[in-house]
Point group: C2
Chain length 226, copies 2
């Protein structure tokens, strides 16, 4: 499948690499290919600069947001939450129309200091904002409740016996995303319901962050015990 | 230990019964003993009226909020979130001073319809509001992430292999509450940190509610897989 992964950060890189490894035709979309390909500093997390990653993944194309989205059958939003709507606008409403958009972004707000709060919560969510702005796109929120390594390789932790959630209005889109999650190794996939249910997974963020601090380990996820 | 459980609803009843069963001297506190003891209708959840429960638990005293709190060594807030601050004010700041207060309430807001949203979230929490209002009380937030049956009997589900969180500023109070949780059967107890960390457990509520709807079973809890 032709897949566009929007975002060049650690989440975008990890998802793009996994999708390519699984045999998909992957393009990473970025605001400026030139800027991305001339970065020479490690990112905020100490990861190598993007061009180094791109060189190690020659089968993955790097393109503008517009070109990546227009050529894709499925689009992944791995941009940071605060910039997601504008990145998707740059990708182009028409280029996203009718397509499944996997939204992984969280609405992190750093202006109040650490740990971050959320810039939208409780009676709305980033997933809903995106679905309202791009009405012809089939938004499925998922994978926003664990780190990038676990997203694409859940079996690394507890034999994979933990949970991923999904939210979205379109049943067929959720079936497609479920198959993709299964190809990553997920077996416990809980469909929470329509896109409003992603308020739950986005609002899980403070509990996730505090749990990581408490156990001093980023390799953590929830299992829904029932 | 002499324990006051404030609140006559299903959570208060279940916690009070368990604490009494474990040999504690338990008083249930309510705004009006007369009102509570003359109720003749089932509650909103279809549970029998309070006097029936009180009759089945003759070893548990029913008293005013003030009397319950003043006689107690430890106090449990099992009132509904919207009324918690005023119920604790009725219990009396002096009667709560120096004591451990286990806060189980969630800040549920029903004015926007179902499912409920939260009346405080993101940059503040009900647990923090209570701690700020009652500065001399040692507030420990816990047990607010599962139903009442699981709170007091975690081994009913998955052999007890799931998680309870706690948040609070006072380390000694958290040690005391941990022992109490262990006496209920909890083995995986995650101390998230100070009282601000209960934003996380309170904001978990939407995910909890949507997960229950999705799996159509209220007997559900999280396990922190690490």
């Amino acid at each position: 499948m032709r897949i566009a992964v929007l975002g060049t950060g650690p989440v975008g890189q990890t998802i793009a690499a996994k999708l390519a490894e699984l045999g998909n035709d992957v393009t990473v979309g970025t605001r400026s290919v030139e800027d991305a390909m001339t970065r020479s500093e490690p990112d905020d997390f100490g990861n190598p600069p993007f061009p180094e990653w791109a060189q190690q993944h020659p089968q993955i194309t790097v393109a503008t947001l517009t070109d990546a989205a227009s050529g894709a059958e499925l689009v992944v939003n791995a941009t940071n939450g605060a910039g997601s709507i504008s990145a998707l606008e740059a990708a182009g409403q028409g280029n996203l129309a009718g397509k499944v958009l996997i939204d992984i972004a969280n609405p992190l707000e750093f202006s109040q200091g650490m740990p971050p709060s959320l810039f939208v919560a409780n009676t709305d969510s980033l997933g809903e904002q995106i679905q309202r702005r791009f009405t012809d796109t089939r938004v499925v929120k998922t994978l926003n409740t664990m780190n990038a390594y676990l997203m694409v390789s859940p079996k690394q932790l507890g034999g994979g016996d933990h949970t991923v959630f999904l939210s979205g209005n379109d049943s067929d889109a959720k079936v497609e995303v479920t198959q993709l999650l299964e190809s990553f190794g997920w077996s416990d996939i809980v469909d929470l319901g329509d896109i409003t249910t992603c308020r739950g997974t986005e609002m899980y963020l403070p509990l996730w962050l505090r749990t990581m601090s408490s156990i001093e380990d980023p390799m953590v996820n929830l299992r829904v015990v029932r």
